[in-house]
Symmetry: C2
Subunit: 100 residues, 2 copies
């Protein structure tokens, strides 16, 4: 549980937006194709379009968030679906309330 890594992941406007968007996928990603995306998450392409940055950048950002355990990924066919990891976010709350 590397605190610095978590805070670095959060030190970017786009990555904070992604986390926020993933709080309510049906609201923020109405064009999503997969009907089960509330459970499985949102695919990289949708996030990329919404963020307006390049595909490679968004892919990298998602893996930064994943390494910090703030999101989790599920591969289904040719898509990778990302969703918030409430477990990791709970850990963050604990860090802040106890250690900080």
């Amino acid at each position: 549980m590397d605190q610095v890594e978590i805070f670095k992941a959060l030190s970017n406007k786009t990555r904070l937006q992604i986390l926020s968007w993933l709080k309510d996928p049906s609201l923020n990603f109405p064009d999503q194709l997969n009907p089960d995306f509330e459970n499985v998450g949102v695919c990289v392409g949708q996030i990329q379009i919404k963020a307006g940055l390049s595909q490679s950048t968004i892919s990298e950002y998602l893996s930064i968030l994943q390494r910090a355990k703030l999101v989790s990924a599920t591969r289904v066919g040719q898509w990778t679906y990302y969703k918030r990891s409430e477990e990791g976010l709970k850990q963050l709350t604990e860090i802040i309330s106890k250690e900080l």
Copy 2:
């Protein structure tokens, strides 16, 4: 209230340590000269010694924490005393619980 600025301020091991040390100054800074330091804070020099980085670096780190409203400063004579800004830290908790 720039969230990115706050998280950037927290994205450094030394700065996290400083915040943590300032939770209990009498424990972490036993050599402190000012007897009232529990209220006023800890001076830059003491923090610098404890951190083991250069004076200029620590001075800069403290102003980064201050800009993020995580600490506050009080100048008394030739010393500047820094202490945690519980107000700013409360704001951080709110950001995380509500917006993130």
